[in-house]
Amino acid sequence: MPEYETHEYDVVVVGAGGAGLRAAIEASAEGARTALVCKSLLGKAHTVMAEGGIAAALGNIYAEDNWQVHFRDTMRGGKMMNNWRMAQLHAQEAPERVYELERWGALFDRTEDGRISQRPFGGHRFDRLAHVGDRTGLEMIRTLQQHAVHKGIDVFMECTISRLLKDGDRIAGALGYWREKGELVLFKAKAVVLATGGIGKAFKVNSNSWEYTGDGHSLAYWAGADLIDMEFVQFHPTGMVWPPSVMGILVTEGVRGDGGTLRNSQGDRFMFNYIPEFFKAETADTEAEADAWFGDKVNNRRTPDLLPRDEVARAINSEIKAGRGSPHGGVFLDIATRQPPEYIRRRLPGMYHQFKRLADVDITTEPMEIGPTMHYMMGGVRVDPETGAATVPGLFAAGECAGGLHGANRLGGNSLSDLLVFGQRAGKGAADYAKGLAATPAVDQSQADVCANEMLGHFERAGGENPYDVQRDLQETMHSLVGIIRTGTELEQALQRIAGLKERAAGAGVEGNRQYNPGWHLAMDLRSMLTVSEAITKAARERTESRGGHTRDDYPSTSDELSKVNIVVRQGPDGTPQVTREPLPEIPGELRKIVEETPASV
């Protein structure tokens, strides 16, 4: 019989990035006994890597900006697949969440008159991102962390949650393990908030940290919750491509926001050749207008270098395939000829440092070589926009592991604001739910035992399959068959390979003991990586059209019929993923007008 260290809370928050921290702060402020459980040390979550900024219509640079314009940009950037209510709440509440961070100690870069400065970013009509140089995520996570430390929240660092436990239909707790000693932990809880981030470690070239193994997506799925939009995977256009050891590391969109431009091997600004019909009316078609836009956004249209990420990533991919790429298989991103060295070092200190140290490139004198890198998961747990509640009672989700806000493609800067807005909402939602519960749900320990035995079983297979080999093969599969451009045949091949990888993962063996054993941790993480990989592939097979972060070579255009549905993945009675098409919530007429109108001044 496995042994457990047991704890009891009203609310257990899983994940301590921006969404998890904000949720825990809110749940605790609402009077809930709150635990914050995270795989890494506090303050190391992937939020720390966010560079560009937090999108919020503060109107500090352009008074013309407001929540309606932000809402419009978000919906159009998401190719209208967004949950309209989430997009509305997000645009309306982001400014207050930013000011709240300032009240908690964040020091944002300032305007001349002392207000929070805002920078331009892809798909945003006005300068909208509150930022701190190119280290906004660090500022955000440190502010939240330092605020939370004094709020009496119990933090379980380096503790991984492996399974959610249920009492009938309700959430009753969670099973996890301490990474340090390998001991099992059982949380009894009225409510669980998932804030585990993304899934990037299932792909070969990605910008994500080791933690991004799709835990929240999988925990929710195994507990019976719905996943939506899993086919929409964002490839960020600008990841480093050379040297091999840094392939995929992010180069902030802020480079283009600050004037940087994409060029091919012939020196052409090729983005002018890739302006889609959908964005023609609001995109500059000459270099002169594009350059003038940086100084005057009211009377000029946006440079195509700052089209939404899906458009730019596909364009780069096409240039490389057409033989106009850079020596190491990317394209060029040039800021050196566009801004003086002093400006570059002040605005983009992290990028300057990163290229100098890791690639021997001085970005103030030379162009960068960049290419698409898997960056963000638009899809996730289907939630109620107001409370973050999943379809399983007692389960909540926020941030990257929740789906809906970003639709088919996320705009840069909308992630940090998402974490704050919906972290707060899910924290409150969970606390309110816990308060309303008459009795604490009962934990059936046999549910935990089944999972615990599976986890410990890896030690009985010393000499079994090496979990690192399985992960490498999975990454290769997802990269080559479920990547930026997809076809039906390749998706079928991917599903066959995933089935084989599942068997290999189940037979993965572990050497050594339970104390801080990364091989064992990976063997357990493989389960969730494979679960999300299968969900992505099946959803991608179902969406027979191209839209946002999902491009099908065999179905290159958009389909009217599919524009009205989410692809939903849930676990069927036989334990396999069931894929259905379900209608998108219908957008009210007033809001539809905001999205469809072309503003007079662009």
């Binding site: 720390v48 100690g105 701190v132 995520g137 490498r472 104390q515 801080y516």
Partner: protein, 247 residues
């Protein structure tokens, strides 16, 4: 690809020793790449912390050839070709396993630093702050909490018994950040003098040298804080005045 000899510490609180691994290294590799390659092919249970692999999270601190550094920002081509490269855990904190140490000391200290306490906002509920007033504070907020400054600080590296009385360079940076925050109103000088033990620091600048974020820890954080403490407690004019005021 060429072979390199890595001498990696393996062990736990009970003891341990360096183990040799011969491993491939490719152009552009950093130490963390090579450690990962060992982990994937030769020692699945080799314990190491990391997250971002881009110098932004401060997780992969270690002592490489005796020098405290982030493994993700230490290029392999900075070492003499053909020589063995040693990788050891940071020394100032208790060993958990291999390259992973127990840094909970830092999280306990963080709880003892009194929280940010802002002045009321302007009439419209917002704050106006000039960029020049936050430049100083922003330098301190670059800290990625890699704890390399804590690792090299003699006060606690050579004398662990000082840990209860000395918060270490990381938290002088945190205190400086709060003290120089244009909105903060709390006074932490007494804490700096007593609980934080700022007098233990004899400004050898080892912390500044290892900071991967190039924060001028000694010059910009510690010395100004020492001056504030001196002003408050040792200024003779203030001392005389305090006699008259009876406090």
């Amino acid at each position: 690809m060429s072979d390199v000899l890595m001498r990696v510490f393996r062990g736990d609180a009970e003891g341990g020793d360096f183990v040799d691994y011969v491993v491939d290294s490719a152009e552009g590799d950093v130490v963390l790449d090579v450690i990962h390659r060992i982990q994937a092919a030769q020692a699945n249970d080799l314990a190491v912390r990391w997250n971002c692999k881009a110098g932004r999270c401060g997780s992969c601190s270690a002592e490489v050839n005796g020098r405290p550094a982030l493994m993700c920002m230490t290029r392999m081509n900075t070492f003499e070709p053909g020589s063995a490269i040693t990788v050891a855990p940071i020394k100032t904190f208790p060993l958990i396993k291999d390259l992973v140490t127990d840094v909970s000391f830092n999280y306990e200290v963080a709880k003892r630093i009194p929280a940010f306490n802002p002045r009321p906002p302007d009439a419209d509920g917002r704050y106006r702050i000039q960029q020049m007033d936050i430049d100083r504070g922003q330098e301190f907020r670059k800290c990625i909490e890699c704890f390399l400054c804590q690792d090299v600080c003699h006060v606690i590296r050579d004398h662990p018994e000082n840990k209860p009385d000395f918060v270490g360079p990381r938290f002088f940076v945190r205190l400086a950040e709060l003290e120089m925050h244009p909105l903060d109103t709390a006074d932490r000088t007494e804490l700096m003098r007593y609980d934080a033990g700022i007098a233990y620091c004899n400004i050898t600048k080892c912390c500044t040298e290892v900071c991967p974020e190039d924060i001028h820890i000694t010059d910009n954080a510690i010395i100004p804080l020492k001056e504030r403490v001196a002003d408050q407690f040792y200024d003779p004019v203030r001392w005389v005045l305090s006699r008259f005021r009876g406090r």
